[in-house]
C-alpha cells in the first residue's frame, strides 16, 4: 500500500511542480533508475562485476535509431525489439566473458564495452560515426504525440522502472533468485547442488541487457539523436556506482543510488568541473566507510 502511494506521488510530481527543468531532472533520474535496476541484476544478484554496461544501453539506442530511420518502425515496436537485441548482445558478449577468471571478468567486460563504442564510432556508414544519428522519431500513441518536453518520457520511464523493480523483487525471492545468490556466493557448491551456473549467469546478462536496451530506446526517442560518446566507460562506471552506492543486490538501493547520483550533479552545477574528482572521491570514501552501500547487508 505504501508503495502504491509513493508511486502515485511520483506520478503526480510533474503536475504538482510544472517547472520543465525539474521535470527534465526527474526523467533523467528515472532513466538511470531503470539502468541501475538492470545492472543490479547482473552485478548485484549474480555477482558478475560488469564494467561495460553502457554498451547495451548503446545497442538499445542505436537499434531503435536504425530501425526508425531506415525502416520507419514506430517507437512502440522498436521498444521491445531494442530490448531483445540488447539482451542478445549481452548474452553474446557474456559467453566468452564468463569463462575467464574472476579478477579478469571486469576487465573483459570493460574491453567489450570499449570495443562496442569504438566499432560504433568507426562504422560511419551505419552509425553515423562520431556525429551519430539524428532525426529519430519521438513516440506517439494515437492522438498523443511525445515531443521534446520531458513529462511524457518521465511517465513512460517511471512505468518501466516500476515494472522492472517489481519484477526484480519477485525474481530475487524466487527459485531463480536463490540460484543466482548461490552462484554468487559459491559457484562450485551451487553446481554440485544442481544449479547450472553458466545458464544462470547468461540469464542475468540477458535480463540486465534487455533492460538497458529498453532504456536506450527511450533515450534515443527522447533525444532524437544518438552519439557514441554518450556510451563510454564513464557512463558504465556511473551506473555501476549507483548500484554500489545503493547496495549490491538491493532493488530499492539501485533506485536510490540512481536518484542520488543523477540528481547530485544538477544540484552541484557550479562544481561541474569537479564532477569526476568528486565522483572518484565518493567511490574511494564509500569503499572505506560503507562498502555495502545504503541498503546492502553486512
Amino acid at each position: 500500500m505504501k508503495r502504491a502511494v509513493l508511486l502515485l506521488l511520483l506520478f503526480l510530481l510533474p503536475i504538482l511542480d510544472p517547472n520543465p527543468y525539474h521535470t527534465e531532472i526527474l526523467s533523467t533520474a528515472a532513466l538511470y533508475a531503470l539502468l541501475a535496476l538492470g545492472l543490479n541484476i547482473i552485478v548485484g544478484f549474480v555477482g558478475l562485476l560488469h564494467l561495460g554496461y553502457a554498451a547495451f544501453f548503446a545497442v538499445g539506442a542505436y537499434t531503435y535509431a536504425l530501425l526508425n530511420l531506415h525502416l520507419g518502425w514506430p517507437f512502440w515496436v522498436g521498444l521491445p525489439v531494442s530490448g531483445l537485441v540488447a539482451g542478445a548482445a549481452a548474452v553474446l558478449l557474456g559467453l566468452p566473458a564468463i569463462r575467464v577468471r574472476g579478477d579478469y571478468l571486469a576487465i573483459v567486460t570493460l574491453g567489450f564495452g570499449e570495443i562496442v563504442r569504438v566499432v560504433v564510432t568507426n562504422l560511419e556508414d551505419w552509425t553515423g560515426g562520431p556525429n551519430g544519428l539524428m532525426g529519430i522519431a519521438h513516440p506517439s500513441a494515437g492522438p498523443l504525440r511525445f515531443g521534446v518536453e520531458a513529462r511524457p518520457y518521465y511517465w513512460l520511464l517511471l512505468v518501466l522502472a516500476a515494472v522492472t523493480a517489481w519484477a526484480c523483487a519477485r525474481l530475487r525471492r524466487s527459485r531463480i533468485g536463490f540460484a543466482w545468490l548461490a552462484v554468487k556466493e559459491d559457484e562450485l557448491a551451487a553446481g554440485c547442488l544442481g544449479v547450472d551456473a553458466i545458464r544462470m549467469k547468461l540469464l542475468a546478462l540477458a535480463l540486465g541487457g534487455c533492460v538497458a536496451g529498453l532504456a536506450g530506446c527511450v533515450f534515443a526517442a527522447k533525444q532524437g539523436t544518438v552519439t557514441p560518446d554518450t556510451f563510454d566507460f564513464i557512463q558504465s562506471m556511473m551506473i555501476l556506482a549507483m548500484v554500489i552506492l545503493g547496495g549490491l543486490g538491493s532493488v530499492a538501493g539501485a533506485v536510490c543510488g540512481a536518484v542520488i547520483l543523477s540528481v547530485a550533479p544538477e544540484l552541484l552545477r557550479e562544481f561541474a568541473a569537479y564532477r569526476m574528482l568528486l565522483f572518484g572521491l565518493l567511490m574511494i570514501v564509500l569503499m572505506r566507510v560503507r562498502p555495502q552501500g545504503l541498503f546492502g547487508s553486512r
Binding site: L171, I176, A182, D186, G191, C192, L193, G194
Partner: protein, 260 residues
Amino acid sequence: MSETLLRIDRLTKRFGGVVALSEVSFEVRRGSILSLIGPNGAGKTTLFNCVSGVIRPEKGSIRLSSGRQGDLLSGLAPHEVARMGIARTFQNIRLFAGMTVMENVRIGTHVRTNAGWLEAIWPFGRRVRQEEHWSFERATRLLERLDLRDAADRPADALSYGQQRKVELARALASDPELLLLDEPAAGLTHQEKESLMEFLRGLKQEGLTILLIEHDMKVVMPVSDWVVVLDYGAKIAEGLPKTIQEDPTVIEAYLGAKT
C-alpha cells in the same frame, strides 16, 4: 541381491606431475554404505571431485546405474551429475553464508523443481506456488529431522560447527538423491555428535539411500560401513569388510608409514 549403483573403473587423474588417482576401481552396491579411507593426500577428495564432475579424470570411467543401464557420469558438469541424483557435502563446509539455514536447505530442492524466470515474475502461477510449497515443506521436514527447526531463519554462518555440518547434510538430502557423497562428515564433531551422525546414517541407509563416505575416524567408519576401500598415494591398496580391513597389514603400514 542388491545391484551395483556406482561403478568406478580404472579412474586416473594427474595434476601436473603428481598422480592423484591411479587406476582406481571399485563398486558401490545400492543401499549400502561404503567408506573410502586412506592417509591424507591419498586422493579421496579427488575421487569425490571426479564423481561430482568438478574435475575431469584423464582415464577411466564412472558409471551410475539408475534404472537405465550404466549412465556415464564422467564428463558431465557438476549440475548434470546432481540432476542424476547424486548429492554431496564438502570437507571444508561450504554453506552459502549470505543465506539463512532454511534458504540453504531449499537450494537443495533446486534440482527437483522447474520454475524459470518467467514463472517467477508472473504472479498468477499456481504451479509455481505448489512448487514453492513443496520445497518449503521438504526443507522443514529435513530440518526437523536434524533438530534444526529453531535455527531455520538464522544466518547459516551464525551456527556452531556441528550444526553447520548438519545444515550441509540437510541441504544435500533436500535434493532427494540416490547417492550421497559425504566428505569427512565427522570431522570436528564432538563424541555425542558423532554418535548422532552414525545413527542418522544408519537411518538413511534403511530408507534405501546409498552412501559413499570419506572419513578418518575409524570409530565412525567401522561400525557404520558395509564395505571399505583403502586408497594410498592415489591407488587402491585394499578393499573389503570393515573387520578385514582393520587387520590388513598393508593398510596398517600405509597409515603408519614405513616401519623401521
